[in-house]
């Protein structure tokens, strides 16, 4: 089984589980950042991408996330790296990460065009800690529209979020 097929299969399994309703949120976990799977045990985080970090979502600029059925896009969000599991980043680094269709729960984000994205995060909110598997540069892994409210204000390549779990 190819890597692509394996990812697609796993994504399908996760989507089916989400479609069946999943588990209720654990007590004490804020709504919108709900994990029904222990983050540390999610094999997707270890297997996808070339970079794996825990990073805090610094902010969500106005207009960076909007829902419009017409458009599928990746929204660029700003993070501060907290822990590095794989890759050359270090704690304190500021990175810019593209999330596909960021208005959707991560488990529902994959579609025919973008098959290898997912995670258990249900909503992006400033200050959240996310455990992410990333690729870089974004352009090598994603052929689609981007909304980048940091255009002209940031340097370096953006990262592509392959998998995003809540980590708070």
């Amino acid at each position: 089984m190819s890597r692509h097929t394996r990812y697609a299969l796993l994504a399908s399994i996760i989507l089916v589980a989400a479609g069946c309703g999943g588990n209720p949120p654990p007590a004490g976990v804020p709504a919108g950042a709900v994990s029904s799977t222990p983050t540390a045990e999610d094999p997707k985080l270890q297997s996808l991408g070339t970079v794996e970090v825990n990073a805090r979502l610094v902010e969500i600029p106005d207009g960076a996330i909007f829902e419009r059925d017409l458009y599928h896009y990746a929204g660029i969000l700003k993070y501060e790296v907290v822990d590095v599991h794989r890759g050359d980043l270090k704690p304190g680094d500021i990175i810019y990460v593209g999330h596909y269709d960021p208005w959707k729960p991560r488990a529902e984000a994959a579609d025919r065009q973008v098959t290898e994205v997912g995670g258990n995060l249900t909503r992006f909110e400033p200050g959240q800690l996310h455990h992410m598997a990333l690729e870089t540069p974004l352009e090598d892994f994603y052929l689609g529209a981007v909304v980048d409210k940091y255009f002209g204000k940031r340097g370096g390549a953006a990262y592509w979020a392959a998998w995003t779990n809540a980590a708070d």
Partner: protein, 333 residues
Amino acid sequence: MILTLAILCTTLSTDDPAGDAIAREVHDLGRIAYSAVGPHGDWDLWIMRPDGTDRRQLTDTRDHNETGVRFSPDGKHILYYEQPVSEPVDNNTYGTYDLVIADSNGSNPVRLGRGLSWASWGPDSKTVSVLNPRGISIIEVPSRTLVQTIPRQGIVQQLVRSPDGRSLTGTANGLGPYWNVGILDMSSREIILASEAERYNCTPDWLPDARHVIYARGTIPERNERAQLWIAGPGGSDRRMVYAEAGRHIYGGASSPDGRYYLFTRSVEDLGKVDHARTTISLIRAGDTPMLGDDDPALKSQFPDAKSSRRLDLGPGWEPHWTAAEIEGTTTP
């Protein structure tokens, strides 16, 4: 058949002197191909004279939708995309399905398959440029022999090579906070913004001068404006409104081969997903632009020099493309 006859009757008897005059001018200027829903409910390719007469099907599949037809510069071949009939036809994704090359009358189709997204003919009519995440490839068809690869410089869809083969245009990231229309010089590999940067822009195509592009100037986010047809050169030079209408979104702009007419589609709803019943093809004279399609006071105030509508409506259809060539096997005996 009933649908075809209804369309023919509509276009042959317009009760529209301006449209009729345009129809007489363009009758002998080659053929227009486009996608439309056929009698069996799926999208097929159709071809007609530019005045809407002599309309017939190029494809007649039942289990696939055919989209994105483009004539080769020599008029001998077409390329198009084929997708399962279960997949909705969408302005932003049609070019990601299976590429097909065929004779211009639809015969001898060769299915080249996936991985050849947003194909566009080169000036030699033997190569096509295609888009993938790692770059833009120029390949010979139908052999799929790779000729050249260049960086895509942010272009993500609706890739079109210029008539002189020196440039590419497409909808691109990295030119502003949203997706814009860029012009990529294939020698310097530099991409330059053509559209405005602070709104959504897409569906570019070249004018015959190989310098200007005609494109859909979309809305500023959250304003929900209607998409308009604009023209611009590299760096936004000569940027101007061509056609706008308060009640319709304008997409799919294309020029006649001689540059004297512009084709486009008018949609009640924004695209995305193409609602056939509400997406129609129209044709205007370049010399009549800028033009407003209706009497909207806000548009009149915004474009005080725009002319009132003088349009030839060609009925339901989407993504039209025009060749000057006469196509064998598509003329009524």
